[in-house]
């Protein structure tokens, strides 16, 4: 490790984004043949919270208790947001409520990545926005800069001081990922431990990763199958088909179809106009007007 290596090294550890300063996308520069992405059908989502609980189970999320929840310190990587329709007189309930599962959008040009002073969050070659817990020094700049506010900080020492898993509850902890201690940032990883295993197995068998290899915990649990997850680069994958059929392009900040009149497609990405190039496509909730 020499000082002369500094710049070289530094550029290596930040992977190239397909969307870079050139102003146009450069898929050639994309470093691997996997790009994990998701599609969530809000018309199928019932807001039942199964995904969120599955995430707690899979990712060793601490239960913080009432007092800390009241301070907004809950650690749900996947949160279900509930919105109402509105009119002048307030909230309207006659078309139900709108639910939105919100987790890290794994942006391709993530605002959080550039600001971390120690490079604890950066882009992986399979298109994830990684969070290296042990590198994190807790400056919380990433969270400050996240447009979606989906990063969760360990405000307390949940495993030890707060006893979030009193024995024998701690036996449930998933050994595939660490339990985070106080002072580090964490967030949805698209179930990194699962994608890792899927890639590992596919590699051993010498074949590309398929849809059947991996499901995220939320996707697996979802009672209505509203969540689709897979490799966006593989045209055979369900998620790629969905993105394609909705004409949502990962590398655009304004989708062509949205510019067109009479667009009858319902795929969209949240806060796309900020150009973070999120990897989660939502499908608009549909409501019948005939009744």
């Amino acid at each position: 490790m020499s000082v002369s290596n500094l710049l070289e090294n530094w550029s290596e550890f930040r992977h190239t984004h397909p969307v870079d300063d050139k102003g146009y996308p450069d898929w050639e520069a994309y470093p691997s043949d996997i790009k994990w992405a998701m599609a969530i059908d809000l018309d199928a989502c019932t807001g039942c919270n199964a995904c969120s609980v599955a995430c707690y189970a899979e990712n060793n999320l601490p239960v913080v208790g009432k007092e800390k929840y009241s301070h907004g310190q809950a650690m749900h990587w996947m949160r279900i947001e509930r919105y109402w329709d509105e009119n002048d007189s307030g909230f309207q309930a006659d078309q139900g409520a709108r639910f939105l599962p919100m987790m890290c959008q794994q942006c391709e040009a993530a605002p959080c990545e550039t600001v971390c002073p120690v490079g604890a969050t950066n882009h992986t070659e399979d298109g994830l926005n990684s969070q290296i817990y042990n590198r994190c020094i807790g400056s919380r700049y990433c969270s400050a800069n996240c447009p979606y506010k989906v990063r969760y900080f360990n405000w307390y020492n949940y495993p030890e001081q707060e006893n979030a898993w009193p024995a024998p509850l701690n036996q449930q902890l998933n050994p595939d990922l660490t339990v985070r201690t106080k002072g580090v940032m964490e967030k949805c990883t698209f179930c990194k431990q699962r994608t890792y295993t899927a890639r590992n197995n596919a590699k051993t068998e010498g074949r590309p990763v398929q849809d059947s290899d991996v499901q995220t915990a939320c996707q697996e649990a979802c009672p209505t199958g509203a969540i689709t997850f897979g490799n966006l680069h593989n045209p055979e994958s369900q998620v790629a088909k969905q993105w394609q059929s909705q004409q949502v392009d990962l590398i655009k900040d304004v989708q062509e179809k949205d510019e067109k009149e009479g667009n009858r497609l319902r795929g969209y990405r949240i806060l796309e106009e900020l150009r973070p190039y999120p990897s989660v496509m939502y499908l608009e909730r549909v409501r019948e007007s005939a009744v």
């Binding site: 809000l42 018309d43 509930r82 409520a97 007007s289």
Partner: protein, 747 residues
């Protein structure tokens, strides 16, 4: 290698030793600590176990009565997570949050760990031998009629064993009690369709009109219905995207997902159903004469007046139902919790007949040919019977298993006092809940992930295809790991031990419940889908590994002869000015009747609609609240004729102005660290009004008044003070009208 006859029981014993490695907090520990930790090592290991790779064992979820088939993910001798079994016709590989939390019931730190005997106010631990001996002692000289056994809904071989035990005791007093049960629906269905639990086909319907059936949340088999719902919403299916209309006074999770949520005046659901029939008749649908006779007086105007639903809305709904068939009309708990609940349900069932849905979206299900293992469903009328018996001093020895009536009985029943009248009360308990606290002897149970059982679901979902109306299944529940606490026992084992006290010879061959179960299943190998020539061991192992045993049930048929005879709906009564509001106890998908309240994930997962956590609340319509001067977070006192509770007010647009709603399942004063003292128990304040036909407690018949206490808190909830507003016109949770999108070409 050396042990070829390696069976699952032994496997669980030798696998991990002395507790396996637990994921530790990783971030503080940067140094390598060679020689500090111990490697997970084994004595013997079957070839399918590879360290760091999970094994899956099929089992059955015990968190509610739907009986979803699950897979337990096991690593290094610990079960880590429950996942759905993809081969299950019930949940098809999916799971709800409640089911996911099953592992927290299993690893719960507040589980009862050893048998406890109460002497006065103190408890002492005792050995199993002593505990069982004590029971035997108390039962000696007690007549069969003086012994009662109260359980929840039951099925499978544990039930068979319990039946045998009751026979051995000479008692017929088995009470099957469920605090929240579709008992009224069962009776109404029996009348209308000829079977109490037909199969609903939401996935085949073009329109679903649900009168308060929260099939996505907490109604019968929610994960199964969610599967159907997902199909129903697909624009690509031949019927096109389905339309869901939910009619209920308090918005449920299903209501929140409806295309149109209609707030009906509480109790007038039946009237609305008849009103719709009336309008349908006018629109040219042929109405059978008996129905027409009843519905003719319910013109759109009159219905509108009684139900608080606009005539225009009724006509729109009727037009939709006429235009799009088949449809499906569901009657749920919100429509049934009244003194005239059965009448409401019957009126709603008429709609299915009028619309010709019976046989199309209401299908016949099979019944189970083995009565011993067929499900015994629970209801509340059985609790009344038990309570009456207790009050009269009829029962000297009372067993309770899997229920918590001390918590869920209305205070007016005085159940706790009556329960105390029995000489000796034995609770088979998972937690020290309210009922266990009131018992004399507490027997700690294995968790559902440590125990053997078979489960036959009441709602019999079937895979697609021929013969589905004769499809029945039994699911296995099997241990996934060694016991967390060594001194707990499976309910089957306890019952077997008790049976041996009575009929030692008959049950001598069975060392434990496992061998009883294995024997019982192998005896019926052929009926359970095996061949007579199959090797017992192979059949048994295959059955266990699948977790699901499909067998041929008795094919049923639905009759489309729902009759309007005797149908009489009461006119909506004027509200009592001293108790002007109707209390609707809400059953949420995660809290249910409160038996799982001690699982922290459930406490921390926000209620989908109010996003509230770790407390109960009362939902009040903003208009009503404005009238009463209540703002969000006010601690209000809700008083009925039978009791009162205090809780925080939440202004909720999804509730009828005449109603308020409080979730049930909160307000435990025992059970464990996560449940105790959280919220208020609404069961206690319910008026003792019963459905006239089934004797079921009418949950929604309690009238209340609300008054401010002057205290105010900030509600602990997920949503911010903006209340889920999307102001700023950002594209966040976007909604689009169905005619603006083309759903038919989606993938």
């Amino acid at each position: 290698m050396t042990e070829n006859d390696f069976n699952r029981r032994d496997f669980l014993k030798v696998l991990g030793w002395g507790g396996a490695a637990v994921a530790l907090s990783g971030c503080g520990n940067t140094s390598i600590q060679d020689g500090q930790e111990t490697v997970t090592s084994y004595v013997t290991l079957p070839s399918f176990v590879v360290p760091s790779i999970s094994n899956y064992f099929n089992s059955t979820c015990a968190q509610c009565d739907a009986g979803c088939n699950i897979m337990g993910r096991v690593r290094e001798g610990r079960v880590l997570k429950a996942e759905g079994n993809p081969n299950s016709p019930i949940n098809r590989g999916r799971m709800c949050g409640l089911g996911q939390s099953g592992v927290q019931a299993h690893y719960n730190p507040d589980r009862v760990r050893e048998p406890l005997l109460r002497t006065g106010d103190k408890g002492e631990t005792l050995t199993w031998d002593k505990a069982l001996g004590l029971i035997s002692e108390k039962l000696n000289g007690t007549k069969g009629a003086e012994i009662a056994f109260v359980t929840g809904g039951m099925s499978g071989h544990v039930q068979a064993l319990l039946g045998n035990y009751m026979d051995a005791l000479g008692s017929k007093n088995h009470f099957s009690y469920e605090a929240i049960s579709p008992a009224v629906l069962r009776a109404a269905n029996k009348k209308a369709y000829g079977m109490s639990m037909p199969r609903y086909r939401i996935d085949k319907a073009k329109v679903v009109v649900s009168f308060g059936a929260d099939f996505l949340g907490a109604w019968i088999s929610p994960v199964h219905f969610s599967q159907q719902y997902a199909q129903f919403r697909k624009g690509t299916r031949p019927e096109g995207r389905g339309v869901l209309v939910q009619i209920e006074p308090k918005m449920t999770l299903t209501g929140a997902n409806a295309d149109r949520w209609i707030a009906v005046r509480p109790g007038t659901e039946g009237v609305l159903a008849l009103g719709i029939i009336n309008v349908l008749g006018k629109a040219g649908i042929s109405i059978p004469a008996d129905i027409a006779a009843v519905s003719k007086e319910y013109t759109a105007e009159r219905t509108s007046k009684e139900t608080d639903v606009s005539a225009e809305q009724i006509e729109k709904l009727a037009a939709l139902l006429k235009e799009r068939t088949p449809s499906l009309v569901l009657a749920g708990s919100a429509a049934e919790g009244y003194a005239h609940g059965s009448q409401n349900a019957a009126a709603i069932a008429l709609l299915n007949r009028v619309l010709g849905n019976v046989g199309k979206t209401v299908e016949a299900s099979a019944s189970v040919p083995f009565p011993q293992i067929a499900p015994t469903v629970g209801n509340r009328s059985s609790l009344n019977a038990l309570n009456d018996g207790l009050a009269a001093g009829k029962y000297k020895v009372v067993f309770s298993y899997g229920v918590n009536p001390v918590f869920s009985a209305p205070a007016s029943m005085k159940f706790k006092d009556n329960f105390a009248k029995a000489d000796f009360k034995v609770a088979f308990a998972h937690y020290m809940d309210e009922t266990a606290l009131a018992a004399d002897l507490i027997l700690p149970l294995d968790s559902a992930m440590e125990d053997w059982a078979t489960v036959v679901p009441e709602y019999m979902a079937a895979p697609e295809g021929a013969g589905s109306n004769a499809y029945a299944q039994m699911s296995f529940r099997q241990p996934m790991m060694e016991k967390v606490f060594p001194d707990t026992r499976g309910v089957g084992d306890i019952l077997l031990a008790l049976l041996k006290q009575r009929k030692a010879d008959e049950y001598k061959p069975f060392d434990d419940f496992y061998s009883y179960l294995r024997n019982a299943v192998l005896k019926n190998k052929v009926a359970l889908g095996g061949k007579a020539g199959d090797d017992d061991e192979v059949f048994w192992n295959e059955t266990l590994s699948k977790g699901i045993v499909p067998f041929k049930g008795i094919a049923g048929s639905v009759s489309a002869k729902a009759s309007a005879a005797g149908l009489k709906l009461p006119a909506a009564a004027d509200a009592d000015p001293s108790y002007p509001l109707r209390l609707i106890p809400a059953v949420s998908a995660s809290m249910r009747d409160g038996r799982n309240a001690n699982e922290p994930w459930l406490q921390e997962s926000p209620d989908p609609l109010t996003t509230s956590v770790w407390d109960s609340w009362v939902e009040i319509n903003p208009k009503t609240a404005a009238k009463l001067g209540i703002v969000e977070g006010d601690i209000v006192e809700i008083a009925s004729r039978s009791g009162s509770i205090k809780t925080q007010a939440y202004l909720f647009p999804g509730i009828h102005p005449d109603a308020v709603s409080v979730p049930v399942g909160y307000g435990h004063d025992a059970m464990g660290r996560y449940a105790r003292g959280v919220g208020a128990n609404v069961f206690g304040m319910l008026d003792a009004v019963y459905d006239k036909e089934t004797g079921e407690l009418a949950l929604n018949e309690t009238s209340v008044k609300i008054s401010k206490t002057g205290q105010r808190v900030i509600i602990v909830k997920e949503e911010g003070p903006a209340g889920g507003s999307q102001a700023g016109k950002q594209k966040i949770a976007v909604q689009v009208s169905a005619d603006k999108v083309d759903l038919s070409k989606e993938v």
